[in-house]
Amino acid sequence: MLVSYDLVLNALIAGILLGGFYAAVTVGISISFGILDIVNIAHPAFIILGSYIAYIVNAQFGLDPILTSIIVLPIFYLLGAVIYQVYYLSFEKRGQDPLRGLAFFFGLLFITEVLLILVFGVDYRYVSAFYIDKTFHYGVVDIPMRMLIPCLISLLMLAILQIFLSRTFMGRAIMAVAQDQLALRLMAADPVRIKRVAFAISIATAAMAGAFLIVIQPVEPSIGREYIGRVFAICVLGGLGSLPGTLIAAMLLGIAESFTATFYGPSWAPAVSFGILLLTLAFRPAGILGR
């Protein structure tokens, strides 16, 4: 089969842009699941929540969705802190088996989704911003702005988080909590507080990812489920808790999905992430940049 060069090039670029966005979607999971070992399967639901907040503010006041998400970051941070506190008191502290923690997050996922359906219905919602329907044409290459802007801001967010985790005291403490809680306690740092901060940050990233999502495509409440497979595939492939690994894996998945969508049709794209997840779990559970 002769494949057109333009098509391949465009699919590659679309994949890289999509990958940048996936990195933003996954970074929260990389922190909560990868570093803190909290299997927050409700993360995609919080992303959708972020999308809807961006949608409401955009529809009411015409504010830019991504700007909105930056403004609501503290609210999501607080939400994350509260959820972690409940999780800690009910499961971690009591030493309950992880089964119940999983069921807890699954319940949260479900409640968020059903509440959004009750309030907004199952219609697709979208936002308006000046850049959404603009596209760069560069020779044969098309770069839609609605993909480019989320991708760039997402890369910026990842860079900030990476600097935070590797350079600041709190960031290093978060990395340390993943390795040895007892040692951390001996250094006079409270592991619960550090985990709370880290989890809150992970939920805060969902606000950003939610805004990106609704800029990229129309959103309805149950769309988050499609992202569960993706985020965990990326997180595992990236090597659990490594942000550079997350970025690489997100790009890989973005490109793989983009090629699948181009050459086999978009309806096959959701299967790609699962294939990658299963293959990774079967052959290299430590991921690309595994510790």
């Binding site: 088996d97 089964l99 069921a103 699954f106 319940g107 497979g229 997840l277 299963l278 779990l281 559970p285």
Partner: protein, 312 residues
């Protein structure tokens, strides 16, 4: 009670339930009862893996839909009677469970849970793209109006689900009291210690996943005949996954009776809530109950009862 007498007693109970249901002149009893019993099977099946070994399966809908789509496939290709379809569905779902378990059960429990979540999405993608079974448009299954001896077809379906419930409960109870069940319990309590003591944990986990998946598939096999029109979004609906987790969690995961209580309770409440309030609200109720129970009463209603008995 030994397993055989238990089975006989359950069959007698099932016969009584069926007879009582027959005294109602209204077919609605059977429609509602079918849904509740379907949840008894799903919750019991989920608990065989989730409650006994402690591995969370979020993919109930995937196994259920596998069973349902097995029926759709044969309905189009070569119509078979429902009991035969149930056996085939059990094999299909069991094998998928085995395959997935083999790839993911060697890792930490959370990986298995995540993989099951993703499994539902992928199978849905496959079905949506498979035109033979209706694709995203869905498939119509015309059920026969009448069936020999019983008369109405819904009574036949109800009876099948009733027998499936008995089979699932009896299996769960037998497992619980067998070497297999003790093996499962060691995995739940401390997998590392179990492995060190010579328990073949991977093999046991695979057996649990297979049995659990098979029963979920069996619950799904008659579903297309019940619903009449099957489409991927409803067959893979999140409510199946949530309910089959919420019911054992609310009833209590340690023994076979927990999921049964949870399913009867939640299933009935939902039937009432769907009719009187709305189906979205009743799903919200399930989610809230699930979260409330895992936080406040980790051992479910059975745990509460036990605690209450100890106090008095």
């Amino acid at each position: 009670m030994r397993s055989l007498p238990f089975l006989i007693v359950s069959l007698v109970v099932a016969a009584i339930i069926f007879m009582i249901a027959r005294t109602f002149a209204n077919d609605y009893v059977f429609f509602a009862g079918y849904t509740v019993l379907q949840f008894v099977v799903l919750a019991t099946a989920w608990n065989i893996l989730g409650g006994y070994t402690g591995y969370v399966n979020f993919g109930t809908a995937a196994f259920f839909a596998l069973g349902a789509y097995t029926t759709v496939f044969f309905h189009k290709a070569y119509p078979l009677p429902i009991p035969v379809l149930i056996v085939i569905a059990a094999m299909v779902s069991g094998l998928v469970g085995l395959g997935m378990g083999y790839l993911t059960l060697r890792l930490r429990g959370s990986f298995f849970a995540i993989a099951t979540l993703a499994l539902a999405v992928v199978l849905q993608t496959l079905i949506v793209n498979w035109d033979f079974v209706g694709g995203s448009r869905g498939a119509y299954i015309i059920r026969p109006r009448e069936v020999a001896i019983l008369g109405s077809y819904i009574q036949y379906l109800f009876l099948i689900m009733l027998l499936l419930s008995v089979a699932a409960i009896a299996t769960a109870r037998t497992i619980e009291r067998s070497r297999l069940g003790y093996g499962f319990a060691t995995i739940r309590d401390d997998e590392l210690a179990a492995e060190a003591a010579g328990v073949p944990t991977l093999k046991l986990k695979l057996i649990a996943t297979m049995i659990s998946g098979a029963f979920m598939g069996m619950a799904g096999a008659p579903f297309p005949y019940y619903i009449g029109y099957l489409e991927p979004a409803s067959a893979f609906g999140l409510p199946y996954a949530v309910n089959s987790i919420a019911m054992p969690m609310i009833g209590g995961t340690m023994s076979w009776i927990g999921p049964v209580i949870g399913a009867l309770l939640l299933g009935t409440i939902q039937q009432i809530a769907t009719v009187t309030i709305s189906s979205a609200v009743n799903l919200l109720l399930v989610g809230v109950l699930l979260v409330a129970f895992v936080i406040i009463a980790p051992n479910g209603i059975m745990g509460l009862l036990k605690r209450g008995r100890r106090k008095t």
